[in-house]
Amino acid sequence: MSKQLLPGLAIEKVDDRIMTLNIGPQHPGSGHMRIIVKVDGDYIVHCDPDPGYVHRGEEKMAEYRNYITNIPHLERPVIHDSCNILYPYCLGVEELLGLEVPERAKYLRVIAAELNRCVYIEYWLAIYGIFLGHSTMFMWPVGDRELLIDLLEKMTGARVTHAYFVPGGIRNDVPPNFEDVCLRQINYFEKRLKEYAAVFYDNPILISRTKDTGVLSREDAIKLGTTGSVLRASGVDFDIRKKEPYDVYEELDFQTNVLKEGDSYARSKIPWLDMFESCRIIRDALQKMPKSGSVRVKLKPKPKGGDTEVYRRVESGRGSLGFHIVSDGKPQPYRIKISVPSFRNLIAMPHLLTGEKLGNMPAVYWSLNYWPVEADR
């Protein structure tokens, strides 16, 4: 019958017309996951995503470390968006321990989170360009994000994996002339962003490859529970920074972008528009920030939570990220469940790819804003 090599690598006997393909972990168009696809000629008839190649057991490891030593490994699922993945953890632990964060720390947290969002979206755009074969769109975003990584290096000390957020505030204050340098870099960055339109978004090849492919209707987007730019590209205006504001987002002036078409072109455009809003937020926050003050609440060495559970969520670069923390009074959490937006958007992948042509696969797959390392945790 079929020779069993290894489960998952077995040889199977298939139909005459239908061929099973592995768009596998070693593939220029797949990232760190595998999609098992059955094709009939050129059309995909069945799609089965196979994540788990980077499953490192974050949730289990978190039960063996206390609240402070959990920070370095909980930020590794998305290393370049690390502030946004630690944000709901810090908010949740502050609720458990009853801490009050100082004002200056809140503004600096918002600035760091928005810088991280831009850094993530630039890398995502770069990989989107290279999946479609547009190598200029790989080089420009990767080069422009180095400007923001410089700013983050001044703030936190590291290029990526900052470990900057702690329960109770942030780790350290920024250097003295940070505001001027930040404003200058953000203004130059915004000028560079406007040039992407000419080379990418108004490019007729991109438009013909992504318009009307992978259309996700509004009802399906709500029913499948998608989040982030996938949801906003299908006409639902839901951004947690506006709906359930945390820290100082209520006092800052920005808007959320919504498009109605729901195809891959709209999903690729929304993050770019979000970056303009992030620049506005950073400028506003730099103006309204208190000029001095403490940035951290002093904690006991092994803080213990009460006998409760919390659920906090935050809008990260990909969508709404939630942390469900259950504590039982010990210094280690009893259970941490991370609800990542990539895993929530994964259910849209078989829904969208069935019936598409095989050549449209990269355009649809990466437009779902899916980061495989985060989805596997």
Binding site: G52, G225, K243, E244
Partner: protein, 180 residues
Amino acid sequence: MSSADSTEIVKTDDSSIIPDLDKSLSDSISKKFSNIEIAYVKPDRIRVNVKKEEIIDVATFIRDELNFDHAESVSGVDYPEDKQIEVVYHLGSYTDVSLDKKILALATRTLREDTPHPGNDNTKLPSLRDVFPSVSFHERECFEMLGVYFDGHPDNRRLLLPEDWADIPPLRKDFSIKGR
């Protein structure tokens, strides 16, 4: 987490007042179903503990009458002292503007066995996939990490773990990682 039978409303601290909307949501659930327990009503977070036989009815009521339309996350928590595994569904709403901030946590418990055979023992729950399609991958993950079999889910198989995983489900408390 508590096993009290009466519905009790818990204040978070002395100065906060439970908003009317949260109270009216929890009251409408407890009026319709008698066998459930409202664990807490905090500002923007309500938790409802349900027995596993009634969870599909309660979930359908929540979806149709109260306008919660998707699940944000499904987490399983292992309680070896009570010999139970608890599964918590966090439900949110995209369509109803008054429910923007609110998350409803729907929790049920099921029996836990000491030597699990995932799929073939008593750790079973009815699947909420027909009510909320957004839980399908979350329930698969719960199955492989904790061993809870979901009846009615068409595809209870492995998602994140390696295909040749032969040990007990890793998120149980008796599975200890190496060296600890």
